[in-house]
């Protein structure tokens, strides 16, 4: 296991391909775990650290969407690099749509593969920190009272206290107090920080919509 603790998962039904990719990535110092099918892969305990998945999409009984859903359900979030024998356009589009980091056509050059893997791991790292941040914000958000949450929704849209009070039918002073509690509970210094946190929590869109 590398110092970075990154793991590369491979799912390919062809043993030869599995072996070749494993060798190549191990030579680069990665920890590699290979599986012959999605089912085998899902049955495993997964590394909680940074990881990515090299997935051969030309496998019998493989449904990429199913796999992603199951991964999400299992709380596994890892960027996927798609490998395909036939690089036809509809397939690559679908792959990207379903959240692929990259889409590689076999035979794949080692540089391309490593670049894609590195990108995926980076992305995984980012995702990891984002998820951590979101989790923190979530915990903070959970402390808000419904009224505070309501006030926050309005605040992040850039409304003034007076406008909010009017909309909510209360005094400006109350709004000010709620706003101060929100800032406190959300552990932000400025409005800008609050807006960013709201955006990350997805509150902004709901408001927009």
């Amino acid at each position: 296991m590398s110092a970075s603790g990154e793991v590369i998962y491979i799912i390919d039904d062809e043993a030869g391909m599995r072996r070749a990719l494993t060798r190549l990535l191990r030579a680069e110092g990665y920890v590699v775990r290979a599986f012959a099918s999605a089912r085998e892969f899902l049955a495993e305990d997964h590394h909680k650290g940074v990881a990515c998945l090299l997935l051969d999409v030309a496998m019998p009984d493989l449904n990429v969407l199913d796999l992603q859903r199951q991964l999400t359900q299992a709380g596994i979030l890892m960027p996927i690099v798609f490998l395909t024998g036939t690089g036809d356009i509809p397939m690559s589009v679908q792959a990207i749509k379903s959240g692929a980091v990259d889409f590689l056509t076999k035979p794949v050059n080692d540089a391309d593969l490593l670049r894609a893997v590195r990108a995926a791991l980076e992305r995984a790292g980012e995702q990891r920190s984002e998820i951590a941040e979101a989790a923190l914000l979530g915990e903070r958000l959970a402390k808000l009272t419904p009224r505070e949450l309501e006030v926050m929704r309005h605040v992040v849209t850039g409304k003034l206290n007076k406008q909010i009070a009017a909309e909510l039918g209360t005094g400006e002073q109350n709004i000010k107090i709620h706003r101060g509690r929100v800032m406190e509970k959300m552990e932000v210094e400025s409005l800008a920080d609050l807006v960013r946190a709201a955006a990350r929590l997805g509150l902004d869109r709901k408001t927009v919509l």
């Binding site: 062809e14 070749a20 060798r23 190549l24 019998p60 035979p107 080692d110």
Partner: protein, 912 residues
């Protein structure tokens, strides 16, 4: 008279008498030389005895000496006569001894008259009187000469000669001759010895004795005379016997009809014993001449007899002849004669003696036997000849045979009549006649003119009549017609082959004179008729065969089919004309199997030959297709079908069949095959192009693995220390992946290959596996899973691998296509192989949308459910399977989906 005088005189008289008797014998038979010598001996002995008597009574020495000297003369004659007699009588061949004896004796005589007193005495000095038998006899006192020994030697030589002759006679003689050797030889030897002893005694003066020499000679004469007399007595007996023989012979001759005769050639007088009347028809005159004899002989034989006689007179004198004589009443008799010519000393014929016998009976029998034999030979010859007589020569041969039979049996006319159901009148188809005459009617209205004969012949009865009078009353009309034709007697035999109803009649008629038809002859004529009937029947059937062959030729011509029949034993082949034309044989050429093989394409000869052999051996009908390489350079395809025909013994003896020119069909077939293979290729390429994506994957996969492995290896090798063990594994993987890629390319290439249909033993399971390899990626891409149920013990089929795989590929892709709308997981394709009866069965089942109502439409060209489909796939598939003598069917499955089913005949005898 004293005893001496009596004895010596009597002796002389006896000798003289005997000599006279035998002299007479010799005079009668000059050939009896022994008697002459004996006579001479006896006379000289008589003289010698008288001289000896005189010597005894001699009074003076001179007288005695003179007598003694002259005594040597009769002694000389006696000895010479004696040895000549012995030589003649004993037939000794020791001539030199004889001549030595005579020569010595001549010497003795010469000395006797030239020296001294006599041969023995140089001088007679005196005479002493000696008393002997009551009388005084003179005995000389002599001076012996040195020659005396010569006399004794000559006497000894006589003794030797006589003994030698006796021994010779004893050795070779019969009882009579042995007796003669003992009596004559013994007595002569004894008395000559005594004479020598007597002479020795006297001459040496040992005792005084008178000369007994003459007496001893008298005794010799007596002994010899006795023996000769015995011979005369024997001759008498023999003469008696001869006479008796002659008499009995005369009797026998009378009984046996033979005569003996003698022909005195010098006088030309022929004497013939009794029966001359009977034998030669010569009146009872005493004698006749040779010319008269010749006159009685049959004119045809006269020259032969004359020549025979001349020949025997000039030759060895042995005469044998057989000739005919014509008696005054015109009767002819056969005479057999045998005789011998007697020649004189100068080889001039003196007379001829012999016997003649009447051999008419024997000749008749001989002639009859010879005639029968000739006829038998003729019959054997006929039956042999008619077995193989070609139809076109039959008519000539029959008439030739009729001539032979007529000549052999002295028949004047032979006819062969035939009739048929359509034409019951007699048609004279063959005839022969001895004498020319008015034209014979060729057609006889037998019902009208010969009703009885016709009825008899048609009923299978033989008609025989020696004369017209023998014909029965109901044959009155026939008789009239025979008379009209001048027929005096005849035989009619029905002609019937193999017991069938008579188809005609064979008749033999006598015209010159009536004749008898012995049963033996009629029986043989029936054989002739049978031979003719069989030959005619064969000709008729050959004609019928030829007609049917012609009809067949016509039919086969019209059908464009040639007919042939091959006789297996000779390999000769009969063919219809159109075959000759087709094979470019000349119209008259004799054909053999080899000749056929000559024009067959060299590559096909073995196949044709083995096909024919198989058919003959197994009895399986022949059905072969082969090419002709014709002399004009063209090549034609022929299909020959036939079957062996078995003889009575069950062995195939002929191969018979038809041949058709199938060049056009073959051309069309090969065109069609070419079109099919081209179309198949086209659709194959199209189909494969559908697969190109997945095939690329199939190729890509190993390449990708190889690349990644190689790059991993590069990295591993750059490390320090490099992980060599890992690199080794990598290389193993690379090699195996490379091989895999190669296999894919090979399969592809095979399927893309353009080529002639090539039917080879093929494992259906293997072929399907290969297709599945190729389609693997495509099917995965389509989410189709394949289940296989391959029978493990599947027999091979005869097929073109590429085309077969094309069909399987088509069916698999079609099946996958049909399931495109299904849920993933409900896209299952099942491939099953198995076999039943003699067929291998391959089915491909899908879970797709099923089939249109009109299933057969599927297989029509340009029928397609795919937007960009060519619509040729299944049509081509069906053509391909048909070319494999198989079927391709599509059926709906009860649980939905389609099932395509291929059935191909399995390869015979070989199983996987």
């Amino acid at each position: 008279m004293s005893w001496v005088t009596i004895i010596w005189s009597m002796s002389a008289a006896v000798s003289l008498t005997l000599g006279a008797i035998h002299a007479v014998v010799w005079l009668q038979d000059r050939k009896a030389s022994a008697n002459l010598w004996f006579s001479l001996l006896a006379v000289s002995v008589a003289v010698f005895a008288l001289l000896a008597l005189s010597m005894m009574h001699a009074l003076t020495t001179t007288q005695f000496g003179e007598l003694h000297r002259w005594g040597h003369v009769p002694l000389f004659v006696s000895i010479v006569a004696l040895v000549l007699f012995i030589q003649d009588y004993f037939r000794t061949r020791r001539w030199w001894l004889l001549w030595t004896v005579i020569g010595l004796r001549v010497l003795v005589i010469v000395i006797n008259f030239t020296t001294g007193v006599s041969f023995n005495f140089g001088e007679v000095t005196g005479l002493t009187l000696f008393h002997f038998l009551g009388e005084s006899v003179s005995v000389p006192v002599v001076v012996a000469t040195p020659w005396a020994r010569l006399g004794e030697s000559s006497a000894l030589l006589v003794l030797v000669f006589v003994l030698d002759a006796s021994i010779q006679l004893w050795r070779r003689g019969n009882a009579n001759e042995r007796r003669r050797a003992v009596v004559v030889g013994g007595s002569v030897s004894l008395f000559v010895s005594l004479a020598i002893l007597n002479g020795l005694l006297i001459h040496t003066g040992f005792v005084q004795l008178p000369y007994f020499v003459s007496l001893f000679f008298v005794l010799i004469v007596v002994a010899m005379g006795y023996e000769l007399s015995c011979d005369i007595i024997h001759a008498g007996w023999m003469a008696e016997e001869l006479r008796e023989n002659a008499e009995s012979m005369s009797l026998a001759a009378k009984a046996a009809h033979f005569a003996h005769w003698r022909w005195d050639i010098g006088k030309d007088v022929i004497w013939v014993s009794a029966h001359r009347q009977q034998l030669y028809g010569i009146e009872d005159q005493n004698t006749i001449g040779f010319q008269r004899f010749l006159e009685v002989i049959h004119p045809d034989d006269r020259d032969a007899v004359r020549q025979g006689v001349t020949h025997c007179l000039e030759g060895d004198g042995d005469y044998r002849a057989e000739y005919r004589v014509v008696l005054p009443d015109g009767a002819v008799r056969w005479i057999g004669a045998r005789g011998e010519v007697e020649f004189d000393g100068h080889r001039q014929p003196l007379r001829m003696r012999g016997v003649s016998a009447d051999i008419t009976e024997r000749k008749h029998i001989e002639n009859e036997v010879a005639e029968q034999l000739r006829f038998e030979i003729l019959l054997a010859d006929l039956s042999a000849r008619f077995v193989n007589v070609p139809a076109e020569q039959l008519d000539d041969q029959i008439e030739e045979a009729q001539r032979h039979v007529c000549e052999c049996l002295h028949v004047d006319l032979a006819s062969l009549f035939q009739w048929s159901v359509e034409d019951p009148s007699f048609t004279r188809t063959h005839f022969w006649r001895l004498l020319k005459g008015p034209p014979l009617p060729m057609k006889i209205d037998a019902g009208d003119l010969l009703p009885w004969a016709r009825q008899q012949l048609q009923a299978g009865q033989t008609v025989v009549f020696s004369s017209l009078d023998e014909l029965p009353t109901e044959a009155a009309r026939d008789k009239e017609h025979f008379r009209y034709l001048g027929i005096k007697s005849g035989v009619g035999i029905p002609l019937s082959a193999g017991g069938a109803r008579p188809m005609g009649g064979l008749t033999f008629n006598a015209i010159r004179e009536e004749r008898v038809w012995p049963e033996a002859i009629v029986k043989r004529l029936r054989l002739v008729a049978e031979v003719f009937a069989n030959a005619l029947a064969r000709k008729r059937s050959e004609q019928a065969l030829r007609e049917s062959q012609e009809r067949l030729s016509l039919a086969t011509d019209a059908a464009g089919v040639g007919l042939w029949i091959m006789t297996l034993s000779t390999e000769q082949v009969w063919v219809t004309p159109n075959i000759r034309e087709l094979f470019q044989f000349s119209p008259e050429e004799a054909l053999t199997n080899e000749r056929f093989l000559d024009v067959i394409h060299p590559e096909d000869r073995k196949h044709v030959r083995s096909g024919m052999t198989d058919s003959c051996v197994t009895g399986v009908p022949l059905n072969i297709e082969y090419r002709l390489a014709l002399p004009d350079g063209s090549v034609r395809w022929i299909n020959s079908r036939g079957r062996p025909q078995r003889s009575g013994s069950g062995e195939p003896d002929r191969l018979m069949g038809v041949s058709v020119d199938i060049t056009e069909r073959k051309t069309a077939e090969s065109d069609a095959a070419r079109h099919l293979s081209e179309l198949a290729h086209l659709t194959r390429v199209t189909t494969l192009s559908e697969l190109s994506g997945s095939l690329a994957h199939e190729l890509n996969q190993p390449l990708a693995i190889i690349l990644s492995n190689a790059q991993a290896a590069q990295r591993l090798l750059a490390q320090s220390p490099p992980d060599v063990a890992e690199v080794k594994e990598i290389l193993t993987d690379i090699v195996s992946e490379d091989r895999r890629a190669g296999e894919v390319i090979q399969r592809l290439r095979a399927l893309l290959k353009r080529g002639e249909t090539d039917l080879q033993p093929l494992s259906v399971n293997d072929a399907i596996q290969e297709v599945l390899h190729l389609t693997n990626a495509d099917l995965i891409g389509r989410g189709v899973t394949v289940t296989r149920e391959m029978a493990a013990d599947l027999p091979l089929v005869k097929g073109d691998r590429v085309q077969f795989q094309q069909v399987v590929l088509n069916l698999i892709l079609n099946g996958a296509e049909a399931m495109v709308a299904n849920q993933r997981g409900a896209r299952r394709l099942q491939i099953t192989t198995g076999h039943h009866d003699d067929y291998v069965r391959i089915s491909v089942r899908d879970q797709g949308h099923g089939l249109p109502a009109d299933v057969d439409k599927l297989f029509e060209p340009f029928f397609t459910t795919k937007p960009q489909g060519l619509g040729m796939g299944l049509a081509i598939c069906r053509s391909i399977i048909s070319a494999h003598h198989g079927t391709l069917e599509a059926t709906m499955q009860p649980e939905g989906g389609a099932m395509f089913c291929i059935e191909i005949p399995q390869l015979k005898t070989t199983a996987t």
